[in-house]
């Protein structure tokens, strides 16, 4: 398979500029195209406005970059169809945390004229921001850890670490677990999860246990939330234009196997404190039937299907229309 990511000394990685690839997937595959800046977009990002168009800058992770679907099927692209005279600059970066997305904003978005900034936070990102490493498989299929940039909250200060992140991966077996740095493995209870998935009991187990995939939101004092909050406060505070924060729910919340109250409350508090616009799409998503909501993710891959992207775009369009200026300069 084609290599689609390249090392970046600030963000950790970006897409390989101008790469065109078809990524094999349980659906057969999906088409990826990146622009010259190294983001998954059909158009290049230019500083000046496109005459007659309003512009949104969008940051997020794989749900926003569109893992599992082709470029045109993503909610960012659908949003352009939902909202007249709109172009969306999608800076979504798969596997990234909100910390890396903020770094990408600083590195790549400065000087780009726009009307609205959208920060799409997959709620699970809260685990990524406290991690110094992410696990990947190397060419031989062995687990290796790649360093990522991350912030530590020291007092009220955000201190950037792993900057620049090391280029070379660390074999997982050689990782020093006692060094105090965390590895994001993409979920909780890794060993147990493997067992339950192997037994085909994942759905049932989650229902019975009322599994909470992101307990970090349970308390406003949780250190992970404190860090997330600090990053978002700084990001929102430094941005001169309207900011929308959109917490993207995991499927557990969309399919109502887990209670979303805690994370929703945390983001409401954030919006109240910063004055940003909160777009919480969960209510709109829950309006779909249970069968439709199950079809919002693939059979195996938990990433959003084209149907989920379409629903998300429809939901987001309402907020975006409200914030966009009627006319463009």
């Amino acid at each position: 398979m084609r290599q689609i990511f390249q090392y970046h000394p600030v963000v950790g990685y970006t897409f390989v500029p101008e790469v065109r690839a078809r990524i094999p997937h349980e659906t057969g595959g999906y088409l990826v195209r990146a622009n010259r800046a190294g983001f998954r977009a059909d158009r290049d990002f230019v500083p000046q406005r496109t005459p007659g168009l309003r512009r949104v800058l969008l940051f997020g992770d794989s749900f926003t970059a569109g893992d599992g679907v082709s470029n045109g099927q993503r909610y960012a692209d659908r949003l352009e169809q939902e909202v007249d005279r709109l172009e969306v600059y999608n800076f979504g970066l798969p596997g990234s945390g909100t910390d890396q997305q903020y770094l990408a904003y600083r590195e790549f978005a400065q000087g780009i004229e726009h009307d609205v900034l959208i920060i799409a936070v997959l709620v699970e990102n809260i685990r990524r921001i406290v991690s110094a490493y992410r696990e990947y498989l190397n060419d031989q299929g062995e687990p290796v850890l790649y360093a990522k940039p991350y912030y530590l909250l020291e007092g009220n200060e955000l201190v950037l670490k792993n900057n620049p992140p090391a280029k070379d991966p660390i074999p997982k077996a050689e990782f020093d677990r006692d060094a105090g740095e965390q590895v994001d493995q993409g979920g909780r209870f890794l060993g147990l999860r493997k067992l339950v998935i192997a037994a085909g009991l994942k759905g049932i187990a989650q229902k019975i246990t009322r599994y909470q995939p992101v307990p970090e939101y349970n308390s406003p004092d949780d250190p992970a939330w404190q860090l997330m909050r600090a990053i978002l406060v700084r990001w929102i505070g430094s941005h001169p234009r309207p900011v929308v924060v959109m917490p993207i729910p995991l499927y557990h919340f969309v399919e109502q196997t887990s209670n979303p109250d805690a994370y929703r409350e945390r983001f409401r508090e954030l919006a109240r404190d910063t004055g940003c616009t909160l777009h919480d799409p969960l209510a709109d998503l829950l309006a779909y039937s249970a069968e439709e909501r199950r079809a919002f993710r693939f059979e195996k891959d938990i990433h959003p299907t084209p149907a989920y992207h379409a629903a998300l775009a429809k939901s987001l369009a309402v907020t975006v229309r409200r914030l966009l200026p009627e006319t463009t300069p």
Binding site: R2, Q3, F5, Q6, Y7, V16, P17, E18, V19, R20, A21, R22, P24, T27, G28, G29, L31, R33, S70, D139, K167, D168
Partner: protein, 615 residues
């Protein structure tokens, strides 16, 4: 009428996929290049993925998906053949039935599941095996009309087919059916001489010039009955493939003086003479068939496909005999090319598309560079991530000059540049290249780079405009499918006395300089020529030009970028691995040059020589 069509060939050998858009070939590749399993027969999911990537099309947007043969007819052939052969064929039937009933018959569901959709047609289209070959030979050719000759091992029933193409139509009008097969006759000798069937045929062809055709009469007397029109029948009492898993049987072995040669054992005079003999017989049959075809069609141009068309010695003979004025051979003449033919068939026959021609008057195969390319961004991303030192030389002229200087200094270069070739030959996109003037180049390349048998010759790549200076060839040969003689004034006299007096050591012959370009001159002064046209591969042509400027020689040794048993490299990563595992001095990854001396030692824990099954 814009039509995008995916063609697939699979489940026999050399699975492949191709995409054709409005009659133009957009992408084509063999599965083996991605799966790294030589002649991979499995469903070409990687190749399909690549073709859809190159065309940048969703499967649901495809106007049609076409399979290159008809599994039901193949099943018919297997059942009837096994019934004819009786109880001895039970094992063979079980194997064939498992394959056919397992996947082939359910191919439509399989494609839907693997590709993700059956396209706008909502069903899989099927063509017939030899029709796919015929289409792959005719439509990309530059000819408005041409006679068509397809010869291979076996498809459904047909093993040899004659036909004609006119504009957007292909018609087949005569066929010879299984078990009578020129391809299988040649494969039987390949197997008997200790080489792998469907892989070692090329070695047998390369071995032939060392031998004398002493067995030709015996073959014609006992094994094959050839009629004046080139039609033929095999005497199946000598062959094993009808009722066993072996190509030959005891009667065959007795006829040729004992049991088959063991693989990897010494090659004796018998194998050399058998190779020469079956080559002579093959040529005789094909020439007769070509004469008959010329007479029957009245057409002056001929196109060829099917595995037998990869026998470039025979092709050269066909050209020299001037039975037809012009000849065009599909470079992916084997089953891989069936994927391309199937897609082209659908475009012209099913959708009625107007014939497309290359406006330059050359063919529409465009050098057969239909595989993946890797951008400089992708290459640098790999090299930077891995920490492999490289020199980025973005200026094409400067880059070619640097490469040519290394070649002139005797260095061996791994050249991975642009889109990968479709077909079994490396044509300057995934090639190992060297200086052909050096006396030791053939042995060095065979033993230290390719790790293969030392008798095997290498092919020359020559600038098209200079071909006549070096070879007795008066037409283009862009696909290395024509063999002709090195010009007499370049030849050097050879001493065959010791070898012919009974010594089987081919090194006696190989080590003698045979011309002023010895590395690409076979022991009979023949050469398997690739002419390089700058329209097809400007990068490779530039290197040849710079080499000529430096040395006065516009020829390079061009061999496939792989080691023995390994599929030709596809990605920069494959190329780097092969580079580090062999004694290649310089690796060219498009704009990036990597010198072996600057590379870190590679941690290669695997015993990589066991990674690839010897071919």
């Amino acid at each position: 009428m814009s039509k995008t069509i995916l063609g697939i060939s699979a489940f026999y050998h050399d699975s492949a996929a191709a995409v054709v858009r409005d009659g133009e070939i957009v992408a084509a590749a063999q599965e083996e290049r991605f799966s790294r399993k030589k002649h991979d027969p499995r469903f070409p999911r990687h190749a399909v993925n690549y073709c859809l990537e190159e065309a940048f099309v969703e499967p649901s947007e495809l106007d049609a998906i076409v399979f290159y043969d008809n599994p039901v007819l193949t099943l018919d052939r297997v059942v009837k053949s096994c019934l004819t052969a009786g109880s001895g064929a039970l094992d063979q039937f079980e194997t064939a039935a498992r394959s056919l009933l397992g996947v082939k018959v359910w191919i439509q569901d399989y494609v839907r599941q693997t590709v993700g959709s059956l396209g706008k047609e909502g069903r899989l289209l099927f063509t017939e095996h030899h029709m796919s070959h015929a289409a792959s030979a005719f439509y990309p050719s530059p000819f408005h009309e041409a006679a068509i000759l397809v010869a291979d091992g076996v498809g459904e029933w047909a093993t040899t087919t004659l036909g004609a193409g006119r504009e957007n139509q292909v018609e087949l009008f005569q066929e010879i059916d299984y078990p009578h097969s020129l391809g299988l006759l040649y494969s039987a000798f390949t197997s008997f001489c200790g080489f792998k069937v469907n892989s070692g045929e090329y070695k047998l062809m390369g071995l032939a010039p060392y031998g004398q055709p002493h067995y030709a009469d015996k073959i014609l007397e006992h094994l094959i009955d050839v009629r004046p029109d080139g039609s033929y029948r095999l005497d199946m009492r000598y062959f094993g493939y009808l009722d066993s898993h072996k190509m030959t049987n005891e009667r065959f072995h007795e006829l040729f003086g004992g049991p088959p040669r063991e693989a990897e054992s010494n090659i004796t005079r018998r194998e050399m003479d058998l190779a020469a003999s079956v080559q002579v017989v093959l040529e005789e049959v094909m020439l007769k068939m070509a004469r008959h075809l010329r007479e029957r069609t009245g057409l002056s141009q001929l196109v060829l496909a099917g595995g037998v068309a990869l026998n470039c010695v025979m092709n050269g003979k066909l050209l020299r005999e001037k039975i037809f004025d012009e000849l065009w051979i599909q470079p992916a003449a084997g089953d891989a090319g069936g994927s391309l033919g199937a897609a082209l068939m659908a475009h012209y026959h099913y959708f009625g598309g107007q014939r497309k021609y290359n406006p330059t008057g050359r063919d529409s195969q465009h050098g057969s560079y239909f595989g993946p390319a890797y951008s400089v961004h992708e290459t640098k991303a790999l090299l930077d991530r891995k920490g492999y030192p490289y020199e980025h030389v973005p200026d094409p002229e400067q880059r070619a000059a640097k490469i040519a200087a290394e070649l002139a200094a005797g260095k061996i270069v791994g050249f991975c540049s642009g889109r990968m070739e479709f077909g079994p030959r490396s044509l300057g996109a995934r090639s190992i290249i060297g200086d052909p003037r050096r006396v030791d180049m053939q042995q060095v390349m065979n033993l230290k780079i390719k790790y293969r048998e030392s008798f095997r010759p290498f092919a020359p790549a020559v600038l098209l405009e200079d071909v006549a200076e070096y070879f007795d060839l008066h037409c283009e040969s862009p696909y290395m499918l024509l063999v002709d003689q090195v010009q007499p004034q370049r030849q050097r006299a050879m001493d065959w006395a010791k070898f012919r007096s009974g010594d089987d050591n081919m090194l006696e012959v190989i080590s003698q300089p045979r011309s002023d370009i010895p590395a690409v001159t076979h022991v009979d002064y023949s050469a398997r020529v690739q002419t390089v046209h700058p329209d097809d591969n400007p990068e490779f042509a530039r290197v040849l030009r710079k080499f000529k400027e430096l040395t006065g020689c516009s020829v390079l040794v061009n061999t496939s970028f792989n080691v023995r048993g390994e599929p030709i490299v596809c990605t920069p990563q494959d190329a780097y691995l092969c580079f580090m595992r062999t004694e290649i001095d310089l690796l060219v990854l498009d704009e990036c040059l990597l010198h072996k001396s600057a590379q870190p030692a590679m941690e290669d824990s695997q015993d990589w020589r066991k990674e690839y099954e010897l071919d």
